[in-house]
């Protein structure tokens, strides 16, 4: 076997992600007046996670299963990388599309290694290449090599779920279908698996169709979210932020939930909103200048920083005496640019402070975050970067 080919299958050098397009899909079941899916059109860009979400009976799983022809559409077309799949041989098409389902469906009579190797074996890879790929995937999902020889019955629920994902990834498919892949596990492990998967997706950049009934999971996992209502009607197809800022109608608004303002906090990072400029002063600066700076902001304090612009302490009226600013030791609450707003707010509340010093990767001051800034963000008074689709004011009240 050519070693270069094996290399190319590795997660580090993955195959190009595919684009996916559903065109005017209609699915009717005989004997039913209502279509399961009525005229659904959807485009998913390469490397994006598209979450299909909606109440039960909205056709989200049906829509996903159309993509690998587990269900045939009544009319309409599905294109992967611009080519219609309708005339593809189903078994061959499916080998090119990763498939993970809620019940996982591991084969209890096969070892973990054999389970993971399912699609590569169907594709006729030779033994060595399969063994290498299994090793690589065990690594990727964080399972010890020794687990490969075990049977699914010997693994915990979370481990089985990981194996299910590894099995779906085995032949490095450019497109993956995942139907509530983290649905059957407890909330704590689910959260961990979600985070792991997002980290993984950061590396492998697959195009993914992800089905869930849980709007919080949708917001967390999705680059774009398609909210479906009963009868497979697309209610809104938008980024999570757009969905939260500007729900298209009452149905979406209800589905997204009354606490969507708080959800937005989980979605945005500190760097996404307008921070206040920090009134920084250094040791040796004239006190009068420091006082002027402090007075120019609503904070009323100056921020003492060291030579590298790292925050040291807040300086209040009592600290700003004499000719020149002198060194002070003091505590302050710091948050990072990459923190999500929810966590940053939690830090401020925990520190019982109004203001948090925002630092960048190097620990240097990037600005000041205040509870006011966050509440302003929630009230849409402070325009962050997310309002590409500004909502009518009454929706945000």
């Amino acid at each position: 076997m050519d070693p270069d080919t094996a290399q190319a299958e590795g997660p580090s050098a993955n195959r190009q992600a595919a684009t996916l397009e559903l065109r005017n899909i209609v699915k009717r079941y005989p004997g039913s007046d209502e279509p399961a899916i009525a005229d659904l059109s959807l485009e998913v860009a390469a490397g994006e996670i598209c979450v299909l979400v909606g109440p039960s009976g909205c056709g989200k799983t049906t829509a996903m299963r159309l993509v690998n022809r587990m269900i045939e559409p009544t009319s309409g077309d599905i294109l992967v990388n611009g080519a219609s799949i309708i005339d593809r041989k189903p078994s061959e098409l499916r080998r090119e599309i990763g498939y993970a389902i809620q019940q996982i469906g591991l084969f209890p009579h096969q070892t973990i290694a054999e389970n993971i190797a399912t699609v590569p074996a169907l594709l006729g890879w030779d033994k060595r290449r399969i063994a290498e790929r299994v090793d690589e995937l065990m690594d990727l999902i964080g399972l010890e090599k020794a687990m490969a020889k075990r049977y699914p019955g010997q693994l915990s629920g979370g481990q089985r779920q990981r194996v299910g994902v590894a099995r779906a990834l085995a032949a490095d498919p450019p497109l993956m279908l995942m139907d509530e892949p983290f649905g059957a596990i407890d909330p704590i492990n689910r959260e961990r698996l979600q985070n792991e998967f997002l980290r993984l997706q950061g590396e492998i950049r697959k195009t993914i169709v992800f089905v869930t009934h849980d709007i919080d999971e949708a917001i967390k996992m999705g680059d774009r979210i398609a909210i479906l209502r009963k009868g497979g009607v697309l209610a809104q197809y938008a980024t999570p932020a757009e969905l939260l800022m500007a729900p298209a109608d009452e149905f979406v608004e209800d589905f997204v939930g009354a606490d969507r303002a708080l959800k937005r906090l989980a979605l945005q990072r500190v760097r996404d909103i307008d921070l206040w400029e920090a009134p920084t002063v250094r040791v040796g600066d004239p006190v009068s200048e420091a006082r002027a700076r402090a007075a120019a902001t609503p904070i009323g304090h100056a921020l003492l920083v060291d030579e590298d612009n790292r925050p040291v302490s807040w300086l209040g009226d009592g600290d700003l005496i004499g000719e020149r600013v002198v060194h002070h030791a003091g505590g302050l609450t710091k948050v990072e640019l990459d923190d999500v707003l929810r966590d940053a707010l939690a830090d401020l509340l925990q520190g019982k402070v109004m203001y948090g010093v925002v630092t960048d990767h190097g620990g240097r001051v990037a600005g000041v975050l205040s509870v006011e800034v966050i509440s302003g963000f929630l009230n849409h008074q402070v325009a962050g970067r997310i309002d590409q689709a500004p909502a009518p004011a009454e929706r945000l009240a």
Partner: protein, 234 residues
């Protein structure tokens, strides 16, 4: 049927424990001296059982494969094999004798017919009990229907299939004791010739039980060896 019975040679009652034997009693000494006379009937009994179970399995398996893809066939096949199962064995031998004549083949045909229902039903139950998720995953990952059957459904149905074969084997060992009526030999032959002689009856009985037990154990052992995944904690 008399000429057949006359050929049986275990009518010799001479030898040790004369008195015991005269009274048709249970005579360990006599059994010890004559155990060799039971070897041929035992071997024949084993042959009848193995041939009938294997033939029954092959036919039932073929029927199950047909019915698996065409569910409407399940009811008629269950009905037909069920009828075979309910015909009294004596009657079945009677029906077969004019067609296939006296002998081993007739015995095997009858015993095979009795096996079909239980094996067929267990194969179907085994296939039906395969987790839906495993089948869905297999299909969704690109297995053809035949690959799903061979790589997922049948391996997972093995425990139930083996259970059916074990029941069929034990039942056949018992039923084969009647196969001598069709001229197929087996342990029923020495039994019927001297059915009042306790030593004879006990010997035949014990051999039948031992045969059934040994075959059952062998099947169980084979299943355990073949299915490592069943041994792990679930």
């Amino acid at each position: 049927m008399l000429p057949l019975l006359a050929q049986v040679k275990i009518t010799d009652r001479n030898g040790a424990g004369q008195n015991c034997v005269q009274q048709d009693g249970f005579c360990p000494g006599w059994i010890k001296d004559h155990i060799g006379d039971y070897v041929d009937p035992l071997v024949r009994h084993l042959e009848l059982t193995v041939v009938s179970v294997v033939a029954g399995f092959l036919i039932a398996f073929a029927l199950a494969m047909l019915a698996h893809r065409r569910r409407w066939l399940v009811a008629p096949i269950t009905g037909a094999t069920g009828v075979m199962y309910t015909i009294p064995s004596l009657a079945l031998f009677g029906i077969l004798l004019p067609i296939t004549g006296f002998g081993f083949v007739t015995g095997c045909i009858a015993l095979t017919a009795y096996n079909l229902l239980v094996i067929f039903r267990n194969i179907m139950a085994g296939l039906d009990n395969v987790p839906e998720a495993a089948k869905d995953a297999a299909t969704g990952m690109g297995m053809t229907p035949n690959q799903v059957l061979r790589q997922v459904e049948l391996p997972l149905a093995i425990p139930e299939i083996v259970a059916g074969v074990r029941v069929a084997t034990t039942t056949t060992v018992g039923l084969a004791a009647l196969a001598f009526i069709a001229g197929a030999g087996g342990l029923g032959e020495p039994l019927i010739v001297n059915q009042n002689f306790k030593s004879n009856v006990v010997t035949v009985g014990v051999l039948c039980v031992l045969l059934a037990a040994v075959l059952d154990l062998l099947l169980l052992l084979a299943e355990r060896l073949a299915l490592p995944w069943r041994r792990v904690a679930r």
